[in-house]
């Protein structure tokens, strides 16, 4: 197979070839490292490239497989990890100057599980500093850029992971998602990403942003690949106080069921309100495709939904400021200006603001749970707009009115984060400028399998996920 052909392989395809010893993990890893060397000067998706370690792990994988020991679908597969996920012996900066020299002595639980599955870690990806922001415009490691148009932003905070996957520099990546940080870059980079139910995937040894909303999960090109990574990292972890003991589902088995019979909810005056026209048109087209697959769509009112941005801003301000309290007093000048400002603001809320926001989450969750008596999932756009120019602090969604980027970016992804629900973003089309549009599918607690089922059925009927940026 040519090096170019290797780049377009999915995890499932490459895994099968590796298992049959028709594809060498060494050859595949080398193709990814060469691709990183070629495109990452422009894209800046990686903070650290682990060339030597990756080559050594790939060689070991090859020897094992040739000796008859195959560990599963990730064995020999090149992946990348967001740089706030601990990797033993490899620096983990969290995109910050403060942790620039931090080399963990232990792995995160998700790192351990990927290593046990035989995955090859090719690098640590760029992120918004300490994951507190949605642009990946990083003052310490450089601006990360969108592969569909390098003048546009990759969103964030897991922007580097989104770009790394979309640009074919790895087959899958891990990101973290507090208020949207996996789903936002998945949307604007044209890939798949899931935010799991809180507790489904361990947060142990992941630099926190907001403890009550943080999650870790995969970002891939297909839903099927997302499942293959998710199966490896999901499950109870006694080292994480929020970890859940709820049994795992047969995620791969669920993919074979098709979408027929699933019921999709649209939230009245919300799901398709206040979005750029191209985004609204694309989501409506995706809903028509789902209907053609046997899905029923109905509209449901959710009167409490409009308090979501204030609640998210309050919680996402107060919790990070608590974690950063000491550094803010001793190393304030080492933060980028935007993150420093947010951390200072987070110290100035009242306790009652924080607790009312946490009570609001319960109201929102109960409203969703009532809605789930009528539908299996809810659908919204992932973002109300497509990728904005790098460095923009405002965005125009409709009627020529400029809006604050941070609030606008939270419009749809903050809701499942607050309600503690899983949510999948998948690519459903492009705007007139060739920029990807993502659709968010929100499910019941621990019903990630239903999201994968719907997303996979959609990808079987469409080809948006097969398109690659020209680099």
């Amino acid at each position: 197979m040519t090096a170019t052909g290797l780049l377009d392989l999915t995890i499932r395809e490459a895994g099968l070839e590796i298992e049959r010893a028709k594809l060498s993990p060494v050859e595949l890893t080398e193709a990814m490292l060469q691709r990183i060397a070629r495109v990452d000067k422009t894209l800046n998706a990686y903070i650290t490239v682990c060339s030597e370690q990756a080559r050594a792990v790939a060689q070991a994988a090859e020897k094992m497989i040739l000796a008859g020991y195959h560990l599963g679908p990730l064995h020999g597969i090149p992946v990348a990890l967001k740089d706030n996920i601990y990797t033993r012996g490899i620096r983990t900066t969290a995109g910050s100057k403060i942790l620039a020299d931090f080399v963990p002595e232990d792995d995160a639980t998700v790192t351990t599980r990927l290593k046990r599955a035989g995955a090859v870690i090719v690098g640590k990806t760029n992120l918004h500093e300490f994951a507190w922001g949605g642009t990946t415009d990083n003052p310490h490691y450089g601006t990360c850029r969108n592969p569909w148009n390098p003048e546009r932003f990759p969103a964030g905070s897991s922007g580097g992971s989104g770009v790394a996957v979309a640009a074919r520099t790895c087959l899958g990546a891990l990101g973290t998602d507090t208020g949207g940080s996996i789903r936002l870059p998945s949307s604007v980079n044209g890939i798949v990403g899931i935010r799991p139910t809180i507790g489904r995937v361990s947060n142990h040894n992941v630099v926190p942003l907001a403890w009550t909303m943080d999650t870790v999960s995969p970002m891939t090109r297909t839903v099927e690949d997302c499942v293959l990574m998710f199966e490896v990292i999901a499950g109870y972890d006694p080292l994480d106080d929020h970890s859940a003991q709820t049994p795992l589902s047969d995620y791969r088995g669920e993919l074979t069921r098709g979408a027929r019979g699933l019921r999709v909810g649209l939230i009245r005056d919300y799901s398709l309100a206040h979005v750029q026209p191209a985004v609204g048109d694309t989501i409506r087209a995706a809903l028509r495709t789902l209907e053609s697959l046997g899905v029923e769509v109905e509209e449901i009112a959710m009167p409490s939904i409009h308090g979501n941005i204030s609640a998210q801003l309050t919680i996402e301000s107060c919790e990070p400021s608590t974690y950063h309290q000491e550094w803010l007093r001793t190393r304030a000048a080492d933060y980028g200006e935007d993150v420093r400002t947010l951390l200072e603001l987070g110290e100035l809320y009242l306790a009652t603001h924080y607790l009312q926001a946490q009570r609001y989450r319960n109201v929102l969750r109960k409203e969703f749970l009532r809605g789930f008596e009528r539908v299996d999932v809810f659908v919204t756009p992932t973002l109300p707009f497509t990728a904005t120019p790098c460095g923009a602090t405002t965005v125009t969604i409709e009627n020529g009115r400029e809006e604050n980027m941070l609030s606008a970016i939270m419009q749809f992804t903050g809701v499942p984060s607050l309600a503690g629900l899983p949510a999948l973003s998948l690519p459903v089309g492009f705007d007139a400028e060739g920029l990807p549009v993502g659709m968010q599918v929100i499910g019941r607690p621990f019903a990630e399998a239903t999201l994968f089922r719907l997303g996979h059925a959609y990808q079987q009927a469409t080809d948006w996920h097969t398109r690659a940026p020209r680099l």
Binding site: S310, L345, L348, H353, Q358, Y360, R444
Partner: protein
């Protein structure tokens, strides 16, 4: 929405003193209009959550671990 509360550099100064957070005058000035907007929105949510229909609602910092939708 009620008008934004009058958050000034001086009121930020008081809050910073309570939080034991030393900030320069320039930073206090810069934070004041942003905090005014954030607190206005947070106060609006406070008013909503004060409604009688929410009296039984508890804050959620860890969701109950029950699959299938039970709250």
């Amino acid at each position: 929405m009620n008008p934004a509360p009058p958050v000034t550099a001086e009121s930020i100064d008081h809050l910073c003193a309570l939080a034991d957070l030393p900030l320069s005058q320039a930073r206090r000035r810069a934070l004041a209009p942003i905090l005014a907007e954030l607190v206005a929105a947070a106060n609006e949510l406070n008013r909503t959550m004060a409604h009688a229909r929410y009296r039984g609602i508890v804050p959620v910092v860890r969701f109950p671990e029950r699959a299938g939708g039970a709250a």
